[in-house]
């Protein structure tokens, strides 16, 4: 049996006074598309930062491609990162480089390829995301969807074993969203990689995910295929999957009593508006 690509066990992590994870367990099987879903603020992006070694857990273990991320030295961590690709929510393209140079950037940094070989490689990756014709454009000239596709070409240019997507559908129009969904699916199959998609777009990510985790309250409250999650009777899972405002996840952030807060705001007659 192929070992899992990512194995997270009992992870605890807090940002200041706020507990983000409290005993998170998660496994990503090799070659799969695994979705990590959850409402905003449940630590989905924090999980990706743990996986890429940008931050370290206070307790528990995070293993990626068989290596314990927290114990890696700088050299080994960089070696591990070369085996990963990541698509950032806003693309994070380098604004002083054009599209071609953005995609070529990791190759220029890590491999000494002859220019004709590098050019062919970059053009192939741009063709894969449908943007070969935009090679000389600057990031400022691209639409949100195009910028994300260029970032995707950059993420796959080093042929990573794992591709991590941070909110790949956020802020996209339906057409761009559909393109990105198809690209994730196609790249996963064509390149034989493992994909981890962090998103709260249930429909889109659910349509391509082999397995999904639902995060809430610092841990995975549900896991399974999209169909299994959709059939769950857990109120929190149902609320998220159906996008309902009624349920355990409250609309209002915890606050003192509303009536008392209004009364404590002061006498209207003192404000000069009579």
């Amino acid at each position: 049996m192929t070992p899992p690509v990512v194995e997270v066990r009992g992870v605890r992590y807090s940002a200041g006074p706020r507990q983000i994870f409290d005993g998170l367990d998660l496994t990503v099987a090799a070659g799969s598309i695994t979705a990590v879903m959850g409402p905003s603020g449940t630590g989905k992006t924090t999980l990706l930062r743990l996986l890429t070694g940008q931050i370290q857990a206070e307790a528990g273990t995070v293993q990626v491609l068989g290596q314990e991320v927290a114990t890696l030295g700088r050299k080994d961590l960089f070696a591990l990162r070369r085996r990963l690709g990541m698509l950032f929510q806003n693309g994070a393209l380098l604004t002083d480089l054009d599209v071609f140079e953005n995609v070529a950037f990791p190759v220029r940094e890590h491999a000494r390829l002859p220019e004709p070989v590098l050019r062919r490689l970059v053009l192939m990756k741009l063709e894969a995301v449908g943007l070969r014709g935009a090679e000389s454009m600057m990031p400022q000239e691209l639409s949100g969807g195009m910028a994300r596709r260029v970032a995707l070409a950059r993420a796959i240019v080093m042929d990573p074993e794992v591709l991590i997507y941070d909110e790949p559908f956020a802020g996209l129009d339906p057409v761009s969203m559909g393109i990105i969904v198809r690209l994730i699916h196609r790249l996963n199959d064509a390149l034989g990689i493992t994909s981890i998609v962090v998103s709260h777009d249930v429909q889109e990510v659910g349509s391509i995910a082999d397995y999904s985790y639902l995060l809430a309250g610092g841990r995975a409250i549900a896991q399974g295929t999209t169909a299994e999650l959709a059939a769950s009777r857990d109120p929190a899972v149902r609320q998220f999957m159906q996008g309902s405002s009624e349920g355990p996840v409250e609309f209002h952030y915890p606050a003192p009593d509303y009536r008392a807060a209004l009364l404590d705001a002061g006498d209207l007659r003192d404000s000069g508006h009579r």
Partner: protein, 245 residues
């Protein structure tokens, strides 16, 4: 007080990190040349313009002062020493902090705010080597060049006013300067401008790199760059002047 000490410690640690990243960055001279262009060539117009007017003012004030003692002929020496040892390096550094320093701080701060630095780290590229070190080296190389240009243009301005307008003899102006200004004076200006280059560029890249990833954070980083650079340039100037006497 503790916060200020912590800040000094953070800048010192950052300096060591930058110096460590400078050696690998030297293998990519193209990146450094681009930054010399960004920090240096793009500051050229303002440096030349200010140099001209500072030199002209020096010519007027110098003539007024020296003529009270009947020593107008020493105007060339006074202008040269004033520009090479003081005004050239100091005014260039202050202008550099306002033009190139703010540009560096806001550029790196925005790269932080838009996840470009994080993206580099995730691509196993060290932003200290790729972003910070080339900009630091570019600034340190550009500053003495800009100070030299400032001084040369300033001398032209002083000559323009002193010789052409006020009537000081041209031969006396240049020959006295040639006779009295030594290589030590030039070196003092060079050392000062190098030191100011380190101070201004280090503070700019430090503020940018550690900026809060928000619009307010980037704005604060640029403001801090100008203020701290300007104050430190004047403090370091006093210390170096005292050391050279």
């Amino acid at each position: 007080m503790i916060a200020a000490l912590r800040r000094v410690g953070a800048v010192t640690l950052f300096l060591f990190q930058v110096l460590g990243a400078c050696i690998p960055a030297l293998r990519r001279p193209g990146l450094i040349v681009r930054q010399v262009y960004n920090s240096g060539a793009r500051s050229l117009i303002i440096i030349m313009l200010c140099g001209l007017f500072v030199g002209m003012v020096l010519g007027l004030q110098g003539y007024d002062l020296l003529s009270r003692f009947g020593s107008e002929s020493a105007l060339g020496v006074a202008a040269a020493l004033g520009l090479l040892k003081e005004l050239g390096p100091v005014v260039t550094a202050l202008l550099f902090a306002g033009r190139a320093g703010t540009s560096l701080a806001s550029e790196i701060g925005l790269m932080r705010a838009t996840d470009q630095l994080t993206a580099m780290q995730v691509m196993a590229v060290d932003p200290m080597r790729h972003v910070v070190a080339p900009r630091f080296l570019g600034g340190v190389i550009a500053m003495p060049l800009l100070a030299a240009i400032f001084s040369v243009i300033g001398l032209f301005g002083a000559q323009l006013v002193g010789v052409t307008v006020m009537g000081v003899d041209s031969g006396t102006f240049w020959s006295q300067m040639q006779g009295s200004v030594g290589i030590d004076d030039v070196n003092e200006g060079l050392v000062k401008s190098l030191a100011f280059g380190v101070v201004c560029t280090l503070l700019a890249v430090f503020q940018g790199y550690n900026a809060e990833p928000t619009a307010e954070g980037v704005g604060l980083a640029t403001t801090r760059t100008v203020i701290t650079s300007s104050v430190l340039v004047l403090i370091v100037d006093y210390m170096l002047t005292a050391a050279f006497l």
